[in-house]
C-alpha cells in the first residue's frame, strides 16, 4: 500500500514549500502559552482544559488542515500530479502514501508539541502528557484522512476545511449530543482520557466507540479519496 518513491517526493515537496514555515506556528504558540501559564498560573487545573481544548480543536486540526490539504491538493492545483498519475501505480497506493506523509508530519508538528507542552506543565510523571500524546496521534490520523479526501473533492479544500473545523468540530461537537460520535477531535480526546482519566478533557465518547468510529472514518475517507482519484480528469481544453 505504501510507495517509497511517492513518500519521498511528497515529503520533499511538502517541506520544500514556503507553507512549511506555517506548520510550526501553531505548535510554537501552544508551547509558549504552556510555558507562560506554568510560570504564572496559581492553580494546576489549566493543563487538561487548555491542552485538551486549544490543542485538540485549534492547534492539531489547523496543522492537519494545512498539511493534509497540501500533500496531494497542491499537486492537483498546479497540475504536476499528472506526472504521478501517468504511471501504472495504483491510485490506492498514491492516496495511502500521501496520507501517511501527512499524518506523520502532523504528528511531528502537532502531537509531539502537545506532548512537550504537557511535559512542561505537569512534568514527566503525569499520565496527562502520555494521554494527550496518544490522543493527538489518533486525531492526526483521522483529521488527515478527512483533509486529503477534501483536497481531491474541491479546489477550495482549505476554506471548506476551516468551515468544517469551526462549525462541526468547534461548535456542534461540543454543543449537540451525538455529533461527538462523528468528530475527529472527540476521538482524540477520548483516547487521551482513556490514559489520563481526567474529566477536564471533556471527552464525550467512549474509548471503544472512538477507536471503531475513528478507524471507520479514516478507512471510508481513504476509499472515497482513491475512487475520486481513479476518475481524475484534466479540466477542459487549455485555451
Amino acid at each position: 500500500m505504501l510507495n517509497p518513491v511517492i513518500i519521498s517526493l511528497t515529503f520533499r515537496a511538502t517541506m520544500g514549500r514556503k507553507r512549511a514555515l506555517l506548520f510550526a506556528i501553531p505548535a510554537i504558540i501552544l508551547i509558549a502559552i504552556s510555558a507562560l501559564l506554568t510560570a504564572v498560573a496559581s492553580s494546576g487545573s489549566w493543563p487538561p482544559e487548555f491542552l485538551g481544548q486549544f490543542g485538540f480543536s485549534v492547534v492539531l486540526p489547523l496543522t492537519a488542515l494545512i498539511i493534509g490539504t497540501s500533500v496531494l491538493g497542491a499537486e492537483i492545483d498546479d497540475g504536476s500530479v499528472v506526472h504521478l498519475l501517468a504511471t501504472p501505480v495504483s491510485r490506492a497506493q498514491v492516496v495511502v502514501s500521501k496520507f501517511v506523509v501527512a499524518a506523520v508530519l502532523t504528528i511531528v508538528f502537532a502531537a509531539v508539541p502537545e506532548y512537550l507542552a504537557a511535559l512542561i506543565a505537569k512534568g514527566p510523571a503525569s499520565d496527562l502528557a502520555l494521554g494527550l500524546a496518544a490522543g493527538a496521534l489518533a486525531a492526526s490520523v483521522v483529521y488527515n484522512a478527512i483533509f486529503v479526501l477534501l483536497s481531491v473533492l474541491t479546489s477550495r479544500a482549505i476554506a471548506v476545511g476551516l468551515l468544517y473545523l469551526l462549525v462541526w468540530e468547534g461548535l456542534l461537537a461540543n454543543l449537540v449530543p451525538g455529533v461527538g460520535l462523528l468528530s475527529a477531535g472527540q476521538y482524540g480526546l477520548s483516547v487521551a482520557n482513556s490514559i489520563a482519566h481526567n474529566s477536564q478533557l471533556h471527552a464525550h465518547v467512549g474509548i471503544g466507540t472512538a477507536l471503531v468510529m475513528g478507524a471507520l472514518v479514516t478507512v471510508v475517507s481513504l476509499v472515497l479519496c482513491t475512487r475520486r482519484l481513479a476518475a481524475f480528469s484534466i479540466k477542459g481544453d487549455a485555451a
Binding site: P88, G236, D237, A238
Partner: protein, 329 residues
Amino acid sequence: MAAEASGRNGMSVNGSPGGRPPGAGGGSAIELRQVSRWYGNVVAVNDITMTIGPGVTGLLGPNGAGKSTILHLIAGFLEPSRGELTVAGQPSWRNPALFARLGFVPERDAVYSFLTGAEFVTATARLHKLADPERAAGRAIEMVEMTEASDRRIATYSKGMRQRVKVAAALVHDPEVLLLDEPFNGMDPRQRLHMMDLLHAQAGQGRVILFSSHILEEVERLSGTIQVIVGGRLAASGDFRAIRRLMTSRPHVFLVRSSDDRLLGSALIGRPAVSGVELTARGLQVRTSDYGAFTREIAALTRQQGIRLRELLPADESLESVFAYLLAS
C-alpha cells in the same frame, strides 16, 4: 480500417487515406469510434472516429478546437461522454495499468521543480517499477540530449529543457504509444527541429507518436500523417506533405504599411508573385500566390525605392482561415 479512419465526418485531403501501413504494430494502435465529449451543454469533441497507428501523427487545429480534450481522452484523463476508445486494445479510462505501454507529456509545465532532471526521470522509472531505474533514466535523458543539464534542478531549466525532460520521463519505460500535448510550445526553432527529429527517431522504432499543435509552421518538417480538428470535429486527415502543399500554395493576403503606400503599391503591381494590390484606409492590401517569393521581393523593393516599411501583417493567417481553406479545397 484506414478508410474508416478518415471517412464519415472528415474528408481525406490527399484522397488516398491508405498511406499508413494498416494494422502495423498490432494492438498498439489508438482507436476512437464515434467518440464525443461534452461539458454540460458545450460539446468539446464531436463524434470523432479515427485510428492512429505507428509513426508520427500530428493533431492539428486552432486553439480550443478540442485537441487537448482528445489527447486527455486517449490518455485516460477524461471519460468519453459517448463512443468507444481503446489504446492497444484496452479502454484507457480508469485503467492506470495501461500506462505501462503509454507515455503522456502534458501541456502544463508543472513538474517537481525541486528535483534535478535526473532525479525526476529516475523517480518516474521507479514508479514504473523498472528493473534498473538509473540506467533507464540515463538512457531516456540521453535520448532527449539533456545529459549535461541533468544534475541541475528543474527550476533552473528553460521552457524547452523542461519540455525535453518531460519527454524523457514519458519515454523512460519504453512505451509503445507516446502522446504529447503541444510539445513545441515555447520552443525556439532549433529546439523545435530537435524535438521533431527525436519524435521521428522514436517513430522509426515502431512507436505510435501522437502530438498536438495549433501552429502549422511548427510542424514544417513533419513527415507523417495529420488529423485536423476544427470545432471538435475531425475536419481532414491524411498525409502531411499533401496538406502542406495545399497550405503553402494557397493565396496569402498581407496588410502592408509603409512611408509611401502609393509608390510601393505601384511598384508591387508588376511583380509575378503579386496577384492583386488594393489601397485601403488601413494600408496596402496585397494578395500573393507565392508567399516565399513575395516576402523576399518586398524587402528588395523597399530598399530600391527608399521606402520605409512600417508593418507587414499577414491578414488571413488565423488558423481558422487556413483550416477553412483546407476544408474548401
